[in-house]
């Protein structure tokens, strides 16, 4: 008799409640792959890239009946509103499917938006549960929606390309979570990878397709964008932050022949920042360690006999100079503490930090930064000396 009671207990809710509540079939969901946030005439312009599953070429979808934009696998929707969420909400107004942000893997901040300050506007990225804290953040040089509109034929959608590039840019790419941490920590400023559009091949080669390209770092002070580091400076800054992913370094060995050089890839990079306080004089040591591997050698240098010592020395010089330059650009020109000097100081001299933290950004250009690098070349690759150069023409100095 217990079964007699159980059967309606099972069937009744299923019959009465089918179609209620949160049930949404996959074909009624619009998956947002990427969004961009821009400032457009004083309003927030939010642009979403939505996947079109029908043109993704799944089995049974036979040529894609619902594709609206030709062969494209995505649909772009853009709206302006005073806040990002309101913009998203008005986007839903002209979509027949329910927007789902849980698969947004990358979000782009436009240049204007970043300059105007992101602090207040990023609230929705963490408040609304569909928005993942692991979403990567990228900056665009110019408006962010331009990045979303590239062809990117190598991936299913531009969002995927942007995401993969972001992953390759840093060891720990900037995500909503790490952005929030940085914004809320005193003594460190944001540095977000910058991307811009680029043709795959120059006009003279042929008709290319537009792609996305990494181009340095956007440097923030508090929550506002204040400047950029170039690709080279960005690479060096990331070395100093311990974030660089296998950076490649090209050095010249002989000053007389600047066109000849050695390219080295650096693995196992690590960096340490150590603050020093002498009186009221604040200085920092940045120590970079890495192991290297020669990728290319266009010189006549006899590596075998010098045991790569010269190349190693040149690399160290190059890295030291490069980091110094990046530091100068960031902390002196832009007064932005992207390396977290303030945090390092706070950790070691909390009393001193308490005194100066309010004026930190004014003091920052005055601090002294000493860079040292310890690079060890471990391998010359598959060959030792350049295999196109006869032995008797090798130079040995």
């Amino acid at each position: 008799m217990r079964v007699g009671k159980l059967i309606p207990a099972f069937l009744l809710p299923a019959l009465v409640l089918t179609g209620c509540w949160d049930r949404v079939e996959v074909n009624d969901v619009a998956f947002v792959l990427a969004t961009s946030t821009d400032l457009d005439q004083g309003q927030i312009r939010s642009t979403a890239q939505i996947a079109l599953p029908s043109s993704l070429g799944g089995a049974g979808s036979q040529g894609g009946g619902g594709g609206t934009s030709g062969s494209k696998t995505y649909l772009m929707v853009s709206q302006t509103a005073p806040t990002p969420y309101q913009a998203n909400k008005s986007m839903q107004g002209n979509l027949s499917r329910i927007l789902n942000f849980s698969h947004r893997r990358v979000t782009i901040f436009g240049e204007e938006f970043a300059k105007s300050g992101i602090g207040e506007m990023v609230d929705v990225f963490a408040r609304f549960p569909q928005n993942r804290l692991t979403t990567y953040i990228v900056m665009a040089r110019g408006p962010g929606y331009k990045l979303l509109g590239v062809d990117a034929p190598i991936e299913q959608s531009p969002s995927e390309m942007i995401r993969e590039l972001t992953k390759s840019a840093m060891k720990d790419p900037v995500s909503v979570q790490s952005m929030a941490n940085t914004l809320l920590t005193e003594g460190i400023d944001l540095a977000i990878p910058v991307m811009e559009t680029k043709e795959s091949i120059p006009k003279k080669v042929g008709d290319g397709q537009s792609l996305v390209k990494l181009n340095g770092l956007g440097v923030f002070r508090d929550s506002k964008l204040v400047g950029y580091l170039t690709l080279e400076q960005g690479q060096m800054a990331m070395m100093a932050m311990g974030q660089a992913m296998n950076p490649k370094v090209s050095v010249t060995v002989d000053e007389k022949r600047p066109e000849e050089g050695v390219t080295v890839v650096l693995n196992q990079t690590s960096a340490k920042t150590r603050p020093h306080l002498r009186g009221s004089n604040i200085s920092f040591d940045i120590k970079v360690k890495a192991r290297g591997l020669i990728l290319e050698n266009t010189t006549r240098q006899d590596i075998q006999s010098t045991m790569m010592g010269i190349v190693e020395k040149r690399c160290n010089e190059y890295i030291t100079e490069g980091i110094q330059e990046a530091v100068n650009e960031a902390i002196r020109k832009n007064r932005s503490d992207i390396f977290g000097f303030g945090v390092a100081l706070n950790n070691k001299y909390p009393n001193e930090w308490k005194k100066i933290h309010a004026r930190w950004h004014e003091l920052l250009p005055e601090v002294e930064v000493n860079v040292s690098s310890d690079i060890r070349l471990e391998s010359s690759g598959e060959i030792i000396n350049s295999f196109g150069v006869r032995e008797d023409r090798l130079e040995n100095d």
Partner: protein, 507 residues
């Protein structure tokens, strides 16, 4: 036997002619009953009655007819001396006599030869069981790679003999019973004295004696009649057609119920874990057994929950899947006209139908049906856009998973239970699956099989028993019998083998 007062006409008459008349009246229109009149001595006539087909004709000829006829020639004067006849002349081992008609008729029906003798109110009954029965062959339903290849047959005595071959102890007891008012089926309750609990034996015996039914044609009749909770979908007795399985269960202190006419022997009590153990688990080395057992547990979970998980995730929790996976599911579902639940139901039900059709049809046609079904369900349905490809994968995986459950009874239960869970999943998402799972677990913890908790070992937790639940420890580590059946005599291994290598280097 019934002890009610017998009427006078139930008694055997001294007059042979009267008896012949009576027996022919009883077996009127029974064309398989044979009457053979013989001359026992010069003055005494007799009648042999037996049923053709169920007795061994050679035995009748060799050991009854021939000695009687030859004996007539040798002792023509033995008038009225009937007992020398039964004990000296007829060379058959099982003999008895009866004085009333019901006993005689029953004897004839259970493969005895009845001898009526002129002037005697007793009928001699000689058991000559015979007739053609299937011989011992490999079991069809429980195939193994490594293990004995013999299976039970339809004959009770062959079956009990197969157990005797394996367990050579006088402690192996077989209690005979006859159940079924019309079929009079022989049923034997087997147990090992000292291993099986007294209470259990008494309980099973009492339940068997309470069965009041016209016929027992399969052990399933008995199972349904004596199980603890008839409204539970879970099997509360195990059945097996493998003598080694039954012997192993007897050795663990359980009881077995043999039923004449079926190769399936019932085993009680049972736990859920027992239904997930295959006999091969103990024949392969324990590494292999453990791996296979874990796969089995994992696939049991899949068989129960996979379609519901698919429904729940695709209709409620799209956030849960990796982006690329949900996009490819979305792509393949784009053109599908049905909601995920309906899609799943169409596929699951047609899969069940396909399996049923495959079993029922003659072997030659069965092949065609499965090919056709695989083609229709797998290929055409996807190409026509009726069903999405991920759903086909889910349904086939579920189908495979349900075949990994070693006991068919449990596999059917799992297949059945996944439908209500699918409904729950479609109404409440993962929450519904949790409701379903909780309901099942609550039910399982309440369920008992002959007084033993169904999840014994885990609920209630018995540390000793976990050696053979989720893992199977090496044979020499299973020092005690499982606690569910034999509480009295737990020790199974006297002295364990020494650890380490046995190789004797430098011999």
């Amino acid at each position: 036997m019934k002890t009610k007062e017998r009427k006078q006409e139930d008694k055997i008459n001294r007059d042979l002619a009267e008896n012949i008349k009576q027996v022919k009246k009883v077996f009127q229109d029974c064309s398989d009953v044979i009457y053979r009149e013989i001359q026992l001595s010069e003055h005494i006539q007799g009648l042999l009655v037996y049923i053709e087909g169920i007795i061994k004709v050679e035995d009748v000829q060799q050991h009854i007819l021939r000695p009687l006829i030859e004996g007539l020639a040798q002792h023509p004067q033995a008038d009225g001396e009937i007992y020398p006849l039964s004990f000296t002349r007829v060379s058959l081992s099982q003999a008895q006599s009866a004085t009333d008609w019901p006993a005689v008729i029953n004897g004839v029906l259970t493969a005895n030869v009845a001898i009526f003798v002129e002037g005697m109110d007793e009928v001699l009954l000689f058991s000559v069981k015979g007739g053609s029965r299937r011989s011992v062959t490999e079991p069809q339903t429980e195939a193994v790679i490594r293990g004995p290849r013999e299976g039970f047959t339809e004959s009770l005595r062959i079956n009990t003999a197969l157990i005797r071959f394996k367990i050579k102890t006088e402690k192996l007891k077989l209690l005979d019973m006859v159940i079924g008012k019309v079929t009079k089926t022989d049923v034997a309750l087997a147990y090992i004295e000292g291993l099986a609990e007294e209470n259990l034996i008494a309980d099973v015996k009492e339940r068997l004696e309470n069965i009041d039914i016209d016929g027992i044609l399969e052990s399933g009749y008995i199972e349904e009649w004596i199980e603890d909770n008839p409204s539970s979908p879970f099997p509360q007795m195990q059945y097996s057609e493998r003598p080694d399985s039954v012997a192993a269960q007897l050795l663990e202190g359980r009881v077995a119920i043999f039923v004449d006419g079926t190769p399936f022997v019932l085993i009680a009590p049972v736990t859920l874990w027992q239904l997930l153990q295959a006999s091969e688990d103990y024949y392969e080395r324990f590494f292999i057994s453990n791996m296979i057992r874990w796969i089995r547990f994992f696939f049991l979970f899949l068989a129960l929950f996979l379609p519901s998980l698919y429904i729940a995730v695709t209709t409620f929790h799209q956030d849960m899947l990796p982006s690329t996976l949900i996009l490819s599911i979305a792509a393949s579902r784009e053109a599908i006209p049905f909601p995920a639940l309906v899609e799943a139901f169409i596929m699951e039900i047609s899969f069940e139908a396909l399996r049923e059709a495959g079993i029922r049809l003659p072997k030659t046609v069965g092949q065609a049906v499965s090919i056709l079904g695989a083609l229709v369900i797998g290929q055409a349905a996807v190409q026509a856009g009726i069903v999405s490809a991920p759903m086909v994968i889910v349904v086939s995986l579920t189908g495979i998973a349900s075949f990994t459950v070693p006991r068919f009874g449990l596999a059917v239960t799992v297949r059945m239970l996944r439908f209500p869970i699918m409904l729950l999943a479609s109404a409440f998402g993962l929450f519904g699956i949790v409701i379903g799972a909780v309901w099942i677990v609550v039910h399982l913890t309440q369920l008992k099989s002959f007084g033993v908790p169904y999840m014994n070992g885990i609920a209630p937790y018995v540390p000793e028993d976990t050696k053979d639940i989720f893992s199977r420890v090496p044979m020499w580590k299973m020092k005690k019998r499982p606690s569910d059946a034999s509480r009295a005599n737990m020790q199974r291994i006297g002295k364990s083998r020494p650890l380490g290598s046995d190789s004797n280097e430098g011999w």
